[in-house]
């Protein structure tokens, strides 16, 4: 199994949640491998377990049983603080609700992961500004989230996900709160990120959005029901 290109190796992942006296089986044994540079969409209806899988892949949670190794690190064996460090170093999150700090400027929001990575202020500003420049938002660096449009907020979140150059970018319904034109723009930017070599996992229930990813994994009732590589629809500059 030693494969230099292998980023994610999940084996028989099980996640149970106690609900009162009974147990809810969110994941019933998921196995998945993702190579570096892949763009993968995880699809499924609500309650299928896709959010649980995302949380586990994002190192926000630990499995009940099974193994998960991210870039060679056995995630299922880590403590809460080690998980935090791994998230900081290896994972960039993009959420449906953007999840920006409302009191901080765009630049400060982008800098946030670097603060916890203990990067010195000057270096931090430089990197955050570069990330904003990549998304052509450097002119909005001093704006606060409530002064920006939904699309711009999500772009700030993308910049924040990129800034620490993580091994994996996780996007959870990134266009869920955006109109279709803005959604296309965001998706084509994500596709562009993937084209530059970033590994991207997208969680969505919208087939249109999932269509941007060449590999589509369907999940239902805590199990993977299909995993197929298709010809991706590369979003142009529409």
């Amino acid at each position: 199994m030693a494969d230099d290109g292998l980023l994610i190796d999940v084996k028989d992942l099980v996640k149970d949640y106690p609900i009162g006296d009974s147990v809810y089986h969110a994941l019933r044994g998921v196995s998945l491998q993702v190579r570096r540079g892949e763009f993968l969409a995880i699809m499924g209806p609500s309650g299928s377990g896709k959010s649980t899988l995302l949380h586990l892949l994002g190192c926000l949670d630990t499995p009940t049983s099974g193994e998960y190794s991210l870039a060679g690190t056995p995630v299922h064996k880590l403590s809460a603080d080690e998980l935090a460090e791994l998230r900081n170093r290896e994972i960039g999150f993009i959420f449906q609700m953007f999840f920006l700090l409302p009191r901080s400027t765009a630049l400060e929001n982008v800098e946030l992961p670097l603060i916890y990575a203990k990067v010195a202020p000057a270096e931090r500003h430089k990197k955050a500004l570069e990330a904003l420049q990549f998304l052509k938002l450097e002119t909005h660096a001093t704006h606060r989230p409530n002064q920006l449009s939904g699309g711009q907020r999500q772009q700030i979140a993308i910049a924040r996900a990129l800034v620490n150059k993580p091994a994996l970018i996780l996007a959870d319904e990134p266009t869920g709160n955006l109109d279709s034109v803005t959604s296309e723009k965001i998706m084509s930017q994500l596709a562009q990120l993937n084209a530059m070599g970033n590994t991207l996992i997208l969680v969505t229930h919208e087939p249109d959005i999932a269509a941007y990813a060449p590999r589509q994994v369907r999940i239902r009732d805590g199990l993977i029901v299909s995993d197929e590589t298709v010809a991706a629809r590369r979003g142009g500059d529409a």
Binding site: D61, R87, N88, R89, K118, V119, A120, N164, P166, A167
Partner: protein, 425 residues
């Protein structure tokens, strides 16, 4: 793909603390009114303590200054009121007289001079103007023992005392109070029901301990006794000056023997008088300072506990309100200690700022109080004085309160589960 950082790029513990401090200030300033209300308890606590202590310290400083001025070679003798349950009962039952003073002068060779004196508040009048002041009935050595000087005329002399003359020496304040003419020597003023001729004016002395030392009139002791009756004759105080200040204890012992003999006290019977030297007064003041410091410290503790509970309450609300923020920070890599320190530093910063505010307000209120007291009670009320230890103590306590009462909310914040925190609506 993780970024390789050089040593200069990674900055350590203090960099992180600085970062958390910046975050804390941002949070505090984002809701100024709430921050202010949160630390109101601390502000009021520190404010009241600083105001009280600074006024008290001012009084103490002035009191010490007065005794320093008095000199190490003088002592003050009064009845031992402490023998009785109340001062009033002591004043009624105990006697100290002009004769006691004369006996000391005769019987204690260590003593250079003795001045008995009695004090009475009384009305004064001059050409229809009426007021009131403190009347001192005394004898001629009072002037030199207390290092007093005159600007005009003379002090009370032996003949004034011997023949109960109705003469007086006035303090500077009396000139204004009675609107006396500039050449007032020889003028007659009313003191109570007696008419006195002004023979001297005392030099301006200033005042301390809330009592102007220029709002006084001196009359012969014998004349005062005649005017105020037998009761006044039995409640005389005595000041004595020794020849050699280094042999103060000898003088005190000797005076004690003399007074015990004059008062016919049997062996083993308690002294019915008390002798205070400057050293003893200082000791008493130190004791009083110690007690008041204890009381102040107790007040500090109580108010800061109350203030601390206020801080804890709002910090708990703040943690709940900012659950989403905590989730975001955790998602991008904040460890538990980062969240813990963030909220701990926020509550310490908040309470320290409250302490600073309380200190400034307390200082302001103390000075305002002194100004008001000077206008209403005593012109010579000493200025407020904030010793450095009070600054350190109040800021230290404020910061400590923030730390102690901030721990629980901060721990609560740091124990949040990242997923729950992100999902929190």
């Amino acid at each position: 793909m993780s970024a390789a950082l050089s040593k200069e790029q990674i900055y350590g513990f203090w960099g992180t603390v600085g970062e958390l401090l910046r975050i804390a200030l941002q949070a505090i300033l984002a809701s100024k009114m709430r921050s202010f209300l949160t630390v109101l308890g601390i502000i009021i606590g520190v404010l009241s303590v600083v105001a009280v202590v600074s006024i008290m310290q001012g009084v103490f400083a002035a009191f010490f200054a007065e005794f320093n001025q008095l000199g190490a070679d003088t002592m003050f003798i009064r009845p031992n009121y402490e023998m009785f349950k109340s001062h009033a009962e002591g004043a009624k039952r105990l006697k100290m007289t002009y004769e006691d003073a004369l006996a000391i002068k005769d019987g204690a060779p260590q003593v250079k001079d003795v001045a008995p004196f009695l004090m009475r508040g009384d009305t004064i009048a001059y050409r229809g103007r009426r007021d009131s002041t403190q009347i001192f009935g005394t004898t001629e050595p009072y002037l030199t023992i207390n290092n007093l000087n005159l600007t005009e005329g003379r002090f009370l002399g032996p003949m004034d005392v011997a023949s109960r003359r109705k003469v007086c020496v006035i303090g500077q304040d009396i000139l204004d109070k009675l609107a006396l003419p500039s050449q007032c020597l020889g003028e007659e003023i009313q003191i109570g029901r007696g008419t006195y001729t002004i023979v001297g004016i005392k030099e301006k002395q200033g005042g301390s301990f809330g009592q102007s030392q220029d709002d006084q009139i001196f009359v012969p002791l014998t004349t005062a006794i005649q005017q105020y009756g037998q009761e006044s004759a039995d409640s005389v105080f005595i000041v004595a000056q020794v020849r050699d200040a280094t042999r103060m204890d000898d003088a005190v012992d000797r005076i004690s023997q003399v007074l015990r003999r004059v008062h016919a006290l049997r062996f083993g019977q308690q002294d019915d008088f008390r002798i205070f030297t400057v050293e003893q007064v200082k000791k008493i003041i130190d004791q009083f300072t110690g007690i008041s410091t204890l009381v102040v410290t107790a007040i500090v503790c109580i108010t800061l506990i109350v203030g601390g509970i206020g801080i804890m309450n709002i910090m708990l609300v703040s943690v709940t309100e900012r659950t989403r923020e905590i989730g975001i920070r955790m998602a991008v890599g904040a460890k538990r200690v980062h969240i813990l320190y963030q909220f701990l530093i926020e509550s310490v910063t908040l309470s320290t700022l409250g302490g600073v505010l309380g200190l400034a307000l307390g200082w302001g209120i103390a000075n305002l109080t002194v100004i008001i007291l000077r206008k209403t009670v005593a012109e010579s009320f000493p200025p407020a004085y904030v010793p450095f230890w009070v600054v350190l103590l109040s800021l230290g306590f404020a910061a400590m309160t923030g730390a102690v009462f901030g721990v629980y909310p901060a721990v609560k914040a740091s124990r949040l589960d990242p997923i729950d925190a992100l999902r929190y609506e």
